[in-house]
Amino acid sequence: MIRRIERDRTRFNEIVRGRIRGEMKRFVANGEMIGRKGGDLVSIPLPGLELPHFRFGDNRKDGVGQGDGTPQPGQGEAGDQPGEHVLEVEVPLAELAQLLGEELALPRIEPKGTDLLEADATRWTGLRRTGPESLRHARRTLKAALRRQVIAGTFDPKDPRIVPIRADRHYRSAKRRPTAESAAVVIWMMDVSGSMGKEQKELVRAEAFWIHCWLKSQYRQLETRFIVHDAAAREVDEHAFFHLRESGGTKISAAYELCAQLMREKFRASEWNVYPFHFSDGDNWSGRDTERCIELLQREILPGANQFCYGQVRSAYGSGQFKKDLDAALSRDERLVTSEIQDRDGILPSIKAFLGKGR
C-alpha cells in the first residue's frame, strides 16, 4: 500500500529539487556544498523554504554594542523559535549529479573497453542454521519458534509468548556472485608552483567536486589519483592535493610522465576508463618541456585515455601560453579538451566543455 504521506513527501522533494535546479549556477560558482559531504549525502541550506509567519525575532545586526545589553529572558519558555535557523535538506550525491547533468544537458557516458572487470558482489541474502550471534536473523528465528510451538500445541494466542530454542535459530549468510563492471579512474593533476594562489586552487576544487560528482554517477566504481607538480611531480592524497602550497618552477612534463607511468602500470586502457585532468595557470618552464609534454600526450596518454582534459585557471602571474601550445599542436585530436577558467562563473561552462562530449 502506498502511504498517504508519500504523496506529500514526493511533492516536497519536487519543490526542493526545483529550488536546487533554479540555483544550480549559484551553488556551482560558490562551491558552498563542498566539504558538506557526509557519505553519499550532501546537505544543502535552502533558506526561505518554510512558510513565513509573523513571529518574534532578533533584528540586531552584527556590530559592537556598548552598555548593559538587554537581559536575556530566562525562566519561562525559552522560546521555541529557532534563531538563525536555515532549513537544510539532504540530497544524495547521485541526485545532485543528475541535476547537474540536466542543467548542462550532459550526455551519458558510454563506457569503453571490452574487458570488463570481474567483481565479486557480496549480498547478505542467504540463511544458515549456524553462525555468529551477531548475525542472528531475529524474525526468521521467531517465525521458526512460532511454527514449532503451534505444531507442538504449546502456543496460546491469549498469552502470545514465543520462546526460541537452539534449533530455531537462523543466521544470515553471504552469497557471492560475480558481476561484470566497468571501472573508471580519474587522475587529477595540478600545478602547485608559486604562481597558483589560493583562489586558483579554490576554483580547481569546486570544478573537481562537480566533475567527480558526475563521473561517479556514471561509473559504479570510480577511483581517484592525485598528482601535484612544480618542477617535480609526486602522488599525494586528496587533502594534500587541494591544500599543498609549493613554490618554485613549473615543469609540466614531470606530471605527465608520472601519469603515463600510472596508466602503464595500473590503469591499462583495456580494463579502465581513464580520465586524466590537468589544471595549471598555463606557465611552463620552457618551450622544450612543452614539446616533451605534447609528445607524451600523443604517444602515451591520449591513446590510453577516454579523454584528456586540460583546464587553465587564470592567474595574475600566468602567461596562459600552455593552452595555446596544446591547441596548436593537437587541435585535431578529439580526445583532448582544453578550457579556460576565468573566474567562478567560468566553472560551469568549463565543466560543460569537459563532460559535454560523453566520452
Binding site: 506529500d8 512558510l51 509567519h53 513571529r55 533584528n59 537581559p71 536575556q72 529572558p73 530566562g74 498469552d159
Partner: protein
C-alpha cells in the same frame, strides 16, 4: 482497535481505574502502529485524512530523520475528537504502553472538559477528511499549482486569529449600516429665549459637542471600526477573493481555531495527563517488576533542563500543590494572614477538597490564568524557580531573582498569545487608497523583520493592494510596507495602535 490481547487487558484495566478516579472522557480508540506510521500520523498533525500539502512531507522527513538518528521519539499521540484516537508505538515495552494509556486518558478527559476546548469540533476527524476532499476537488478543477500557491499563502497567515473570540462576545466589528446612515441632529442647541441663550447654550459646551461629533464621525467612518485580531475573518469578508479561494481560506481558519486551544493549554494539559499517569500507575496498575522502568520513563518525561521549564513538570507540580493546599485548607484569608512560619508549616484544616479543586481547575483555566492564579512564593521556593539572566560582564548565567512575581511575569510573558505576536487589522482603507494596515501590539519583543517582510508579501497577494504593519523597532515606531513585492521600512510616529493591549476591550 488492533491491540494485542495483552495490551487489550491493560487497556480495560486502566480505563476502569481512570473512570473510578472520576475522569470523564470520550470513548477512546487505541491504534497500535509502527514508527513509520506514527511519524506519518504525527506529520499530519494527528489526522491521517488531511488535505495534501508538501509541508506534511517535510515534517515527516524531519521526524523520520530524528527517529533514525535516535534524537527524538514520539511516545504518544492523542487527537481531540469523539471518539478520541490515540496511537501507541509497537516497539514500546509493556510498561511504557501502560503509562502512555494512562496518560492518554488524562488528555481525553482534559479535551472533553476544559472550557477552552468547548468550541472545538468533536467530529474533527470527519471534518478534516471533508477538508481533504474539498481541496482535492479544487485542485482537480483549478490546477494543483494554483491551489497550492494560494494554500501556502493562507497557511502563512494562520496565526492571525483571535483565540479568545470563541469564548467571549466582542462588540460587532461593523456598525449596523442603517444606524450609520441616519441623519444626526446638528449639535444640539436647546431652545431658549435670546437673552437666555448664552446661559442655556454656552459656547464652550457647543464647541465640545461639535468636537465629540466629529470624533465619532471619524471613528465610525473608519473601517474596521475597531481594530480586530481575527485578520483571517477580515480577509474573508473584505479581500477580493474568488469563491474557491474563500473556501480554502475559511477551512484554513477553521483548522487554526481547532488547534488554538492546544497552544493555550500546554502546561495544563500535559500536567493533567502526567498527574493521572502517575496516580493511576503508582496507586493501581504497576507490578513490582515494572517499578524501575516506570520510574525511569516518568523521570525522563519530567526532567527539566537548566534554565528552561518543562510544561509536564510545571503542570504536574502545580496540580499537586493545588491539591495539597485545598486538602489542608491553605487558601483564603486565614492562610494569607498567617505570618508565623512554624504555624504555616503546621497549617492543616483537613478540608480534603484537593481532588475536587483540581478537577475544577482543569475545567476553568488556561495556561495564562493557571500560572497567574496558582504560582505563589511557596510554590516558587519549593520548586526552586527563578529568573535568570546573563551577566554581561562575565558572560555567565546568573539567577536574577527568586521573587515569585518576577518569575510569574516572565512565565506569563512567554505564554501570552501562545508565544505569538498579537497582530490586529487597524485600517482596511489606509490613506484612503484601499491599503491594508495592521498593527503589532508591542509587548517587549520585536517582530522578526525578514519574516515580517515575507509575510507581508503573502498578505499583499491576497489583499490585492499594498499592505503595511506598524510595530516598534529599537523603541521607535516603525512601519513596514509592502507594495508590489517591494519591502520598505520607515520610522513613523507611534499611532497608539502598537501599545499594549488594554485590559477590557
Amino acid at each position: 482497535m488492533n491491540l494485542t490481547p495483552e495490551l487489550e487487558r491493560a487497556r480495560v484495566e486502566i480505563e476502569r481505574h481512570a473512570r473510578e478516579f472520576g475522569l470523564d472522557f470520550f470513548p477512546t480508540v487505541f491504534e497500535l502502529v509502527d514508527h513509520d506510521e506514527l511519524n506519518e500520523v504525527a506529520a499530519f498533525g494527528g489526522f491521517p485524512t488531511r488535505y495534501p500539502h508538501w509541508r506534511f512531507g517535510m515534517e515527516f522527513d524531519r521526524l523520520q530523520k530524528g527517529y533514525r538518528y535516535g534524537l527524538s521519539k514520539i511516545y504518544e499521540l492523542v487527537i481531540n475528537n469523539d471518539p478520541c484516537y490515540a496511537y501507541l508505538m509497537k516497539s514500546n515495552s509493556l510498561v511504557d504502553q501502560k503509562l502512555v494509556m494512562a496518560h492518554v486518558f488524562g488528555h481525553c478527559d482534559f479535551f472533553r472538559n476544559n472550557v477552552y476546548f468547548a468550541h472545538t469540533d468533536r467530529k474533527m476527524v470527519d471534518r478534516m477528511a471533508n477538508h481533504g476532499t474539498i481541496l482535492r476537488r479544487l485542485m482537480e478543477r483549478h490546477g494543483v499549482n494554483e491551489v497550492e500557491v494560494f494554500l501556502d499563502r493562507c497557511l502563512a497567515l494562520d496565526n492571525l486569529i483571535d483565540p479568545h473570540s470563541t469564548a467571549l462576545r466582542r462588540a460587532p466589528a461593523e456598525p449596523a449600516a442603517d444606524a450609520a446612515d441616519l441623519p444626526r441632529p446638528a449639535p444640539g442647541k436647546l431652545r431658549a429665549k435670546s437673552y437666555m441663550d448664552r446661559y442655556v447654550n454656552p459656547g464652550r459646551h457647543l464647541d465640545e459637542q461639535r468636537r465629540e461629533d466629529a470624533d465619532r464621525e471619524r471613528a465610525t467612518s473608519r473601517f474596521p471600526v475597531r481594530p480586530g485580531r481575527d485578520v483571517l475573518r477580515f480577509l474573508l469578508d473584505h479581500a477580493p477573493l474568488k469563491r474557491w479561494q474563500q473556501e480554502v481560506l475559511s477551512l484554513v481558519r477553521e483548522e487554526a481555531y481547532y488547534f488554538a486551544p492546544q497552544g493555550q493549554t500546554k502546561i495544563m494539559n500535559e500536567g493533567w495527563a502526567s498527574y493521572w499517569h502517575s496516580t493511576i500507575m503508582t496507586r493501581r496498575v504497576l507490578r513490582d517488576s515494572e517499578v524501575i522502568d516506570f520510574a525511569d520513563h516518568h523521570a525522563g518525561t519530567l526532567a527539566t533542563a537548566p534554565g528552561r521549564t518543562n510544561p509536564y513538570k510545571l503542570g504536574i507540580e502545580l496540580y499537586r500543590s493545588i491539591e495539597e493546599r485545598w486538602d489542608k485548607g491553605r487558601h483564603g484569608r486565614e492562610w494569607e494572614e498567617c505570618q508565623s512560619l512554624a504555624e504555616r508549616r503546621r497549617f492543616d484544616r483537613r478540608c480534603g477538597e484537593g481532588r475536587d479543586k483540581i478537577f475544577e481547575v482543569r475545567r476553568l483555566h488556561c495556561d495564562v490564568t493557571f500560572v497567574d492564579t496558582f504560582i505563589d512564593q511557596d510554590f516558587c521556593d519549593a520548586q526552586r524557580m527563578h529568573v535568570w539572566r546573563t551577566n554581561p560582564r562575565t558572560g555567565q548565567r546568573e539567577i536574577a531573582s527568586r521573587d515569585h512575581r518576577l518569575v510569574k511575569e516572565q512565565l506569563l510573558f512567554g505564554l501570552s498569545n501562545s508565544g505569538q505576536p498579537i497582530i490586529e487589522v487597524v485600517d482596511g482603507n489606509h490613506d484612503n487608497r484601499g491599503e491594508l494596515r495592521l498593527a503589532h501590539r508591542f509587548e517587549g519583543l520585536e517582530l522578526d523583520l525578514a519574516f515580517a517582510g515575507e509575510t507581508l508579501k503573502v498578505l499583499e497577494a491576497i489583499w490585492g493592494r499594498p499592505v503595511c504593519i506598524e510595530s516598534k523597532l529599537d523603541g521607535k515606531g516603525t512601519l513596514v510596507r509592502c507594495e508590489r513585492g517591494e519591502i520598505a521600512t520607515r520610522e513613523v510616529a507611534p499611532s497608539g495602535a502598537t501599545d499594549r493591549v488594554a485590559d477590557s476591550r
